[in-house]
Homo-oligomer: 144 residues x 2
């Protein structure tokens, strides 16, 4: 888990009961260096106890609605989950290897985005910006 996050407190601040299932999901997601799929999370959580697949989906939906987790669509059919941007978790871009499909979190601050041109002409309201990079990961590069 992320050493600076108190998951119980995060849940309670959002008005959610700190159930064992929710705590374990948060520990798994917060403790992994890259975003995970629902299946990954289900598998991992079930190494130490038991939590139904559907319950995992419902926990993920809820935590995303409360902006505790962030849902990413990075190509492929599965959605990935990571900690939502917050004090301890600055927003950052993600990278996906076109060859092996691996997804990585990139360091925050490494990408600067200027929305000026869009804000001047777009009639809606922009709330979030997601940057997704694609290419070849170090691993695939070296064995290419």
């Amino acid at each position: 888990m992320c050493s600076r996050c108190n998951y119980r407190e995060i849940l309670e601040r959002a008005g959610l009961e700190a159930t064992p299932g929710r705590l374990r999901v948060l520990e798994v997601v917060g403790g992994h260096p890259a975003p995970l799929s629902a299946a990954d999370i289900h598998r991992t959580v079930n190494r130490t106890g038991r939590l139904d697949r559907v319950t995992v989906y419902r926990i993920l939906d809820r935590l995303v609605r409360e902006k505790i987790l962030q849902e990413l669509s990075l190509g492929g059919r599965r959605r990935l989950y990571g900690m939502a941007p917050s004090e301890h978790h600055p927003p950052h871009p993600h990278f996906r290897c076109a060859r092996c499909g691996a997804v990585q979190c990139l360091p925050p601050g490494g990408v600067r985005v200027d929305l000026g041109g869009v804000r001047r002409v777009f009639a809606g309201e922009i709330r979030e910006v997601e940057v997704r990079l694609e290419g070849l990961c170090a691993n695939c590069l070296s064995r290419a």
Copy 2:
């Protein structure tokens, strides 16, 4: 369809037969101002003729592999398809309304991305950058 694109020529340059199915898929995608799902494309193409659902998927896969179309994952379960960046189709960011789910293409050039910080530390090779915006569309804003 896009008035500046000769789909037959695009297919032949990629070494693909210009079959009626492929031409119709390209006309539908190229003629729509926002990216479309496979189901959208299937439905539209079948208003004027007949093309199997599976054939539509295979055509889309092929055209994406040949970089004639671009596949977008913008949240939700379905992938969307638009013309790939090319001479007549400059790359541009996409917007998705968090309320109604509508997806829009934004004007090219409105967003500038500076990857300097990432390129200095990332060991892989970055080939594509995708910017995805989320918020409320003009429609949902006005009725909110």
